[in-house]
Amino acid sequence: MSLIHTIAASAGGGKTTRLAEELETNITSGDARPDAIIATTFTNRAAAELQERTRAELLSTGRSQDAQRLMASRIGTVNSVCASIVEDYAFELGMPPGLRTLDEDLAMTVLQRALSSVVDGTDEAELQELRAFMPELKWEQDVQRMIQAARTNEIAADALAQSHEKSMASLGEALGPCAKDGAVLDKALIKALQDFLSEVDQEVDNTNKTRDFMAFAGQALRHLERGTLSWPDWCKLTKADVASKSASLAEPIKAAANDHVRHPWLREHLSRASELLFSIASKGLVAYQELKAEMGVIDFVDQEVYALELLRRDDIRARLQGEIDLVLIDEFQDTSPVQLAIFLELAALSKKTVWVGDQKQAIYGFRGADPGLMDSAIDDVYDGVSDHDLVPAALASAEKANGPEILNNSWRSRPELVEITNDIFAPAFEHYGIPEDRTRLTAKRPEGSAALGPVLEYWPLHIPKKSKTTNLALPAAAGVRRLLDEGGSVVDRSTKKERPVKPVDVAVLCRTNSDCQRMARALENLGIRAVLARHGLFDTPEAKVLVAALRLWVDKGDSLAAAELARLLDYPDRPDDWFAAALSEPRGGAFMGASTVVGLLERREALSHAGMLQTLDAVISVVGMATLCAEWGETELRRANLDAVRAHAVAYADSCDTEQRPATLVGLLERFKELATENKREYKPRRDNQAVLGADNAVTVCTWHKSKGLEWPVVVLFGIEASTLPRATGVHVASDTEEFDASDPLAGRWVRYWPNPYHKATRGPVRTVLEQSSEYEDLLEKSQRERLRVLYVIWTRARDRLVLTALEGKLLAGALGELSAIDENLISEPTQSPAVWAGREVHLTIAPCGPEDPAPEAPTPGRSYVTAGVKDYPPAFIAPSGIEATGTTVAPIRLGDPIEVRGKPNPLDLGNAIHSFLAADAPELAPDVREGIAEGLLERWGLGANLDPADLIAMSDRLSSWIAEEWPDGTLHREWPLRHRLEDGSVVRGSLDGFIEAEGRGAVLDHKALAASVDESVKLAAEYAGQLGAYADGVREASDYSEVRAFVHLPLAGQIVEVHR
């Protein structure tokens, strides 16, 4: 086991520089061979940066060999490093090398397929019965989550039954005592409903609210009497939403319905749902693995699981021993349980291990990272434990005594901002057990001039009461507009000099992806471009035109596609003219003559066998998309959008390849449709993002989580007033072990599943009761810690200025509330500057924002080259038989009498038999051998009744005689292969029937078994001038012959004809 050196790197502490130093130092000192290094980072970009920095450093010090060898190291994301290990040892895993990895979408499709195969009739019947009571039971999603949790926590399929038992035991305890007889509870509710329905006086209360509830109550009563009242309906009755005039009459309903938490049938349904879903998950887990093996693919989880399996095998360990000098793990706080196990195995194999991270920035809990687990691991490594031998010698060293190396200088932010951050967050993290010295940083940047303004701003967001919108992105975007217009200063990162703020300096960090979309739209309305992948690629005119053109290509009867092309290209500002044209000839007839449509259909004829991507490119070219994009203005963005559409097509082709199915144009159009559609059932948003153009005039908009590791001069935090709470129900990973065991980090883990009897967003008695449980308390505490960490991450992204935005009066309603909950003096909603936060005076600008009217659009056209049009390329290969050219003939030479063909044989068969004989025969062969060949050929081609063997022999003999006479020094080569490149690059390739090689001259010979009259045959010979000419050219180019002649041999006519082109 190597020494695990830990580095705690707070935000802005110069971590990337430190990492590159670590690599470079270890290589330079000879402690680590460059190709014996493993380094994992959070993103590919970070990996590339780390490698690039280190290589540049090595190259600049003349260590080019080391720089070269570093290319052979394993530096990448955890997944890519695991993938490389799995690839290297694929045979040992019993897998083929070059394994294909499924992307997330494809993996989901394969998993769904696997699940479909394991749900049998009994399962379906049980699901049906349960769904009558729990109509919102999203079994497929819950099962997928169970499988995911099991795989990433090394829980075997057959152990899931225990998870069910543990889940139900904990659920029973959380829900409290159960009533003995459910019928009693039903009766009480029946009576309450009956009383209500008979007592409501509709003369007195004729409100829609009460009438609607009465309809629902009647419906509920019927179900209750049949014993089929669902649990969401029980829950709805606990709220009994009626007008105030009837409110008192509804109270007994509420009281009776509230009792359903104790209902024995509810417990039974929850238990059955849990048992069934765990059982499906268990079977599904096995089926999914089998299906992937059958397809020869793995997924991202497999990469890690298989890498761990390999690293635990003695034979692999023996081979890796001595092969790893340095393991460097970046962002280790966001490590998932399986990844932690991998890192620990690698640590045992490596001479030296360095973990770099920051407990305060662990924010990927929702993706399977386990900050709690990491906290334990960190504490374990820092403080040491006596009951295991993971780090026996290492932890007994100074490392253990001194704790981690702490990077406690901040190179990122202005000193005042660093100090405010220290004072607010150090006590907050101390509250959760992280020592203050791991949070406090010393500012190393100079303060800068007064032009930089206060380090903090607060924008209370205001929506006028009469406004129809509640979209807070509108006032926040107005704040960004003001900030840019006022033109404050920032410090340029490259030059370190102050300059006016530009849009590229500003980042708006939003809580959710939907907030990002709203914010980007709001900014765009005010004329500010946002760097954000916005949905709606297929709603853009450029994509609409392209898709319509592709549809027309697929089906020229698609009248809607023709009408769309006409509307978008020919009639965009003449809608009534377009309408008149559409009405003048039904089914788009009036549009079929449009130049674009005609061009498309002509090209379609010419490229009828083109592949999917070739067609896409042809359509882009024929429609003139590049010029269209320029003519519409925003040229760069529109052309980038075309690239984005094409990238989707390439991805589609790749996925077809992985799934081993054909990529077709219709399939591509379906994929486009799928990307542009929100799948509410699977909670998948639209995935047709528009292209992103980074530029000086664009503001960055991204989610809080995506901002990790990045920094901007001005950071605007949006959505911090929103509060989110965890849910007690659903799939969670639990652990039985009190103490973390670093030698077995996944020990004692199981999947806790509490089914939700209601709709996921509904608050009801079950949820209320479950939120009193110790399990929920635990979840709540974890989520509070995570919210604090997220707040720390986004707060520390700013270099020069941090802007807090919130609905006015609600600044502390969300994440910032976590701070004031720890200590109310840490932060407060400021009403004036300076505010007093964490006992210090904080100078800040308070600038309220309200929505502003959109800016008018003024697109300008771009410039373009004159469209070159479609270029036709010559074919790669040409068969001489396909070259058509009629030439002239010289007077034919008679070889003998015409040979009569009896009957009417298939001309192809006849030709094949004669060609074969002339190729195989040689006059020097024994007569019986020649006869045998001729007889066999005629028999095999079914020509025994049409020709005699002697006829074939005669053809050959007289040809040989002519050659002997005309070419006394010549040698006849039969079936002579020839390749010849033409001037335009095409390659002519084929086989000569015969080639006569003589001194300084040659002749090409082609047999034509024409069953026509002598005169007719001679005439037809001229038509082969093209073919023979191509052969003769090839021979000329490959030889130094002074003369190459071309002859058509007519064996049936008994003639030989010289041809000229």
């Binding site: 009438r211 609409k544 965009p572």
Partner: protein, 348 residues
């Protein structure tokens, strides 16, 4: 630098070597510039090409006549979005083969439910248990043929769900009929009746006697309950109009297959059904006639409206009743194929 899928790629295998060397030397001296693409055609200035923008009111070259035979759904389109009606029935614009739906959706579920419930109820009389058994058999035998997409391997969950709901619906319908002593008079039957100078015709899902009920199958329930409550259930009112005879008008309702519930118009006291809102089909039909006249007058003046054209798709449009009794049905933009044509797809 990115590859053709947009993923970042390393610029060149020697990039680090070059950039390291650039640090040491005068970078300018390393750069040799030469004109690129001198053989390209000259650039040209382009004029701005207009983009499609939403158009709420269109003018037809001549007045658009009513169709001789109109269906309730056509009537709904005319009242909701006359442009959609004109493009579908006069311009006859249609999608090609590339637009076949791939993934199962509610349209497929609805069609399947229609076909199976028709088969079950055509065997009336049936007890609820018999209806359930029959629906089970029919689903297992016929659904693979009628709804092929649902039987693709990855849609097992949807298949199980749809199966459950259709079987439960068959049982629930039979129970409602049994509780009300109703008999099936017609299933999936065409009816036609004069409506002024045109003929209105449509297929009725279910017509019963004693009580006289006309029932329309719907997959979901939310929007249809809203139609009943707001008095905007045009399709149902049209079915009630079509089946009115000498004995009077049947009571009308929607049966939601997905929830297994029957929702009836006001005044229909039917066992095991929910009465929704305070409007009867007579109220609704009266409003339809007022609205139809208004739309016909507009068509006569060569005016064709596209009322949803300027509203973003994400914003839900609501049905409305004007003080004059005109029924302003919300255009059905979500499933409309003509959004690029009216300009709705380009609303900012």
């Amino acid at each position: 630098m990115t590859d053709q899928t947009g993923a970042a790629v390393h610029p060149h295998p020697l990039w680090d070597e070059v950039s390291a060397a650039a640090k040491e030397r005068d970078a300018k001296a390393m750069v040799h510039a030469r004109p690129l693409g001198t053989d390209l055609p000259p650039e040209m200035d382009l004029s701005l090409r207009p983009l499609v923008s939403p158009v709420l009111e269109w003018t037809s070259p001549e007045k658009l006549p009513m169709r001789e035979h109109e269906s309730p759904s056509g009537l709904g389109k005319l009242l909701g979005c006359p442009l959609q009606w004109a493009l579908e029935y006069h311009a006859r614009l249609g999608e090609g083969v590339a637009d076949a739906p791939a993934a199962p959706d509610v349209l497929l579920y609805g069609n399947l439910a229609h076909k199976l419930l028709e088969r079950v109820l055509s065997e009336w009389p049936l007890t609820p248990e018999q209806a359930k058994a029959r629906a089970t058999t029919l689903f297992d035998e016929e659904a693979p043929r009628l709804a092929e997409a649902l039987f693709l391997p990855r849609y097992g969950a949807q298949r199980a769900d749809v199966r459950h709901r259709i079987i439960r619906a068959a049982e629930a319908v039979a129970r409602v009929l049994e509780k009300n002593d109703a008999t099936v008079e017609a299933v999936e039957t065409s009816y036609e009746r004069d409506l002024g100078d045109i003929k209105l015709g449509g297929r009725i899902d279910l017509l019963t006697q004693t009580p006289s009920l006309v029932i329309d199958w719907k997959w979901g329930s939310g929007s249809y309950i809203a139609h009943l409550r707001k008095g905007t259930a045009l399709q149902l009112a049209a079915y009630a109009y079509l089946t009115t005879n000498g004995h009077g008008r049947p009571k009308a309702g929607y049966f939601s297959v997905s929830s297994g519930e029957l929702h009836m118009e006001s005044g229909a006291e039917i066992e095991h059904a929910n009465t929704q809102g305070s409007y009867t089909m007579d109220d609704t039909w009266d409003a339809v006639l007022v609205s139809l006249k208004a739309r016909r007058d507009e068509l006569g003046a060569c005016v064709v409206h596209a009322p949803g054209a300027a509203t973003p798709l994400a914003k839900k449009l609501e049905d409305k009743r004007t003080k004059e009794g005109d029924l302003r049905l919300a255009p059905q933009c979500t499933y409309c194929s003509f959004r690029s044509l009216c300009g709705k797809d380009f609303v900012k």
